[in-house]
Structure formats: structure tokens, C-alpha cells
Assembly symmetry: C2
Homo-oligomer: 207 residues x 2
């Protein structure tokens, strides 16, 4: 552990270094940057964090971060309420929104089932998803979880819990990323991309 | 610019994204991490920054960050007061301290002369260095500034300002970094490393 010339500096660097992906050198750089800024700017920085932490609201329906009890997506009259896209976290909502290809609603699980990390179904917003599917007129649930073992487990758990033969349950397509070369793709992905191949005419129509 | 589902979230991400080297995606990741932490932890984080910004003191002598009017290095009776190492910023003090090879005092300039960035000699702690050299019993000044054009300019400016024939003025050695191969070194560095070669016996004695 490095020795700093000031206890105040030490504390601030320690605080930054606890953030994910921030090492002690970067923490020091960030703290010294803030130290050079006008006092008002540091107050704004600090204030925005305090305000967010103390006043944050999660949407009652989809658990997205919100300023009101229902988020702007759940409130919007132009969104298709019959399709619900299930995602792991809020960053995934932003990622899907940025594609501009989805006009339904979301459901944020707040994680995925991971026995290694001690995260079980009861730690996630799964019960409220099941209730929501039953009470609202949901026609399709898109499972947009990570394409790894934890994601697959969570997909399967939710699929079993839904247990509604009329409901369409889909998952996002697994395949070769656009711009990628086939020879570098792993076999499982390439295999899936062949099994779940898309009609060329469909692809052309999606330009 | 991405749209977030909450104005509070937006503000916090904006605040983080203003820090050097932090993009919007990283900013969002950090903010969402803080959001998951207990409220007390966020208060500690925020408190450490506010406290540092409001209560920070710079050492009257060397301009290092300090908790008192004189920093722990300038106060220390075991340091050699006759040698002053001139550095660009506080991070360089930490870097030199970490080598464990220097037992003198420091002088933090707070930057280097850079006409492009509009930084002139008067923006830096040069006047106080000259005063200090004259008033204290300084026998050697080590210029440990970056080995680039701005550093060279600043070295030359300080050297001219000191204008004391009795005083020993040195710079840190330029040469091949330990572990580097000669064929990848640039010609100027390699040239310098030959011109300013070190007696092998001296090197052996420094093990």
C-alpha cells in the first residue's frame, strides 16, 4: 500500500479504488483531477451521487431506474404492452433501447441465477414477472439474458415458472456477430447460427 | 448522447463522465455499482471527496498535499535538507518515494511550462523554489521533470533562474529502461545512454 502525504488524500483515493475496475493509480489520478476543479464542481459531482443514492426510485412494474413510480417506458402510450423483454440489469435496458429495434416493455431481473455467487431465484425480480404476465395481457416474453450457463439456467427457470402454453416465449438470437469472420467463431455459436438460420428474404427485408 | 430512464441517473453519469479517462459506459457502470452499495458507503465515498476538497492544505515549503502547513517529508528530521528534487506534480513525489532511493526534500511545480496549454513560468511554483534555494542551505537541485520538450524547456528556465555557480544542478538519468531491449529503444535515448554511460563498477556497487 502506498503512503500518501495526507490522510484526506488517502481516504479519497481509498474510496475511489473501491469502485470496480479502478486501481489505486487511476484513483489517485481522478482524485487529483477533482482537487484541481473549482469547489462548486466538486459539490455538483458529490451532490449528484448523494441525490441519486437517496432519491432513486425503481419502476414498480419493470424495476428499471425511474424518477416516478412508473418509468417513462412503462408509461408511454406508444409502446406495445403485450411484449415484455426480460433483461439482467439496467444497462441491458439501455443497450436494447439504443438498438431502436424494440418497442415493447422491459422487466429487469436485477441479476441472474448463479449458485457460485449465492444468487437464487428469490433474490431476483422473478415473482413479479410471473404476476405481471398473468395480470397484464402479455402475449410474448423475450428472454434477453446473457448467453452463458447462468443465463441459460435463469431462462429455463423462468420458462418453467411461466408455465402458460398460450404464451409465446422467445430468446434473443445466438449467432455470428455482424462484422465477424466465421473461422474465428466458436463451434457452438457457429452450430447454433446454422441450426437457427434465417430466411435470406427475411434478412433482406430487414435492411 | 444516450437517454437514461431517470434524470438523477443522468446527472450522476454526467458527473462521472467528466473525469479524465472515464467514458459514458464506464461512468454508468460506476454509478450503478454505487447504487447497489449501502447508503452509508456512498456517504463515506462522497464525504471523503468533500472533505478533501474543502480541507486540503498544501505544504508551504514544497507544495505537496499535506494535512499540516508543513508536510511530513519537509518536517522529517531524517531527510537530507540540502538536496531538493523538483517534480511536476504530486504523483511524481509518490513515484520517487516508492523507489526508496531518495532521501532529500521535494519541490512540486504544479505543472511544466507549456505555451500550447497557456502555462507560463508564473503559473508554476518556480519563484518559491528560487527563494527556497537562496534562503535554505540547498547544495543540490535535482530536476526530475518529464523527458520531453516541455520538461526540457522548464529545466532550462529553472537552471537560468537559479543562476548560482556554487549550486549543483542535476537531472535524472536518461537511458534504456531496465528490462528493455536495445533494438527497440529510440535513437535519441540510446545515444544519450552511450554519452552518459555509467562506470560498470558504480553500477555493480548499486546492487
Amino acid at each position: 500500500m502506498e503512503q500518501y502525504s495526507s490522510k484526506l488524500l488517502q481516504n479519497a483515493v481509498d474510496a475511489f479504488a473501491q469502485l470496480p475496475g479502478i486501481g489505486r493509480k487511476t484513483a489517485l489520478r481522478l482524485v487529483l483531477h477533482l482537487l484541481k476543479q473549482p469547489e462548486e464542481d466538486v459539490e455538483l459531482f458529490v451532490g449528484s451521487l448523494t441525490k441519486l443514492r437517496n432519491e432513486v426510485i425503481y419502476c414498480q412494474k419493470c424495476h428499471n431506474i425511474s424518477d416516478k413510480s412508473l418509468c417513462h417506458i412503462c408509461c408511454s402510450p406508444s409502446r406495445d404492452e403485450t411484449i415484455v423483454c426480460v433483461v439482467e440489469n439496467i444497462r441491458d435496458v439501455i443497450a436494447v433501447e439504443n438498438t431502436g429495434r424494440f418497442n415493447g416493455l422491459y422487466h429487469v431481473l436485477g441479476g441472474i441465477i448463479s449458485p457460485v455467487d449465492g444468487i437464487g431465484p428469490n433474490d431476483l425480480n422473478i415473482a413479479s414477472l410471473i404476476t405481471r404476465i398473468k395480470e397484464d395481457k402479455v402475449g410474448e416474453v423475450i428472454l434477453a439474458l446473457p448467453t452463458n450457463m447462468e443465463g441459460d439456467t435463469t431462462n429455463y427457470y423462468i420458462y418453467k415458472k411461466i408455465n402458460a402454453p398460450d404464451l409465446k416465449v422467445t430468446t434473443i438470437a445466438r449467432g455470428i456477430a455482424i462484422g465477424d469472420e466465421l473461422e474465428y467463431a466458436d463451434e457452438i455459436t457457429l452450430g447454433r447460427s446454422i441450426m437457427n438460420r434465417t430466411l435470406y428474404e427475411t434478412l433482406m427485408a430487414q435492411k
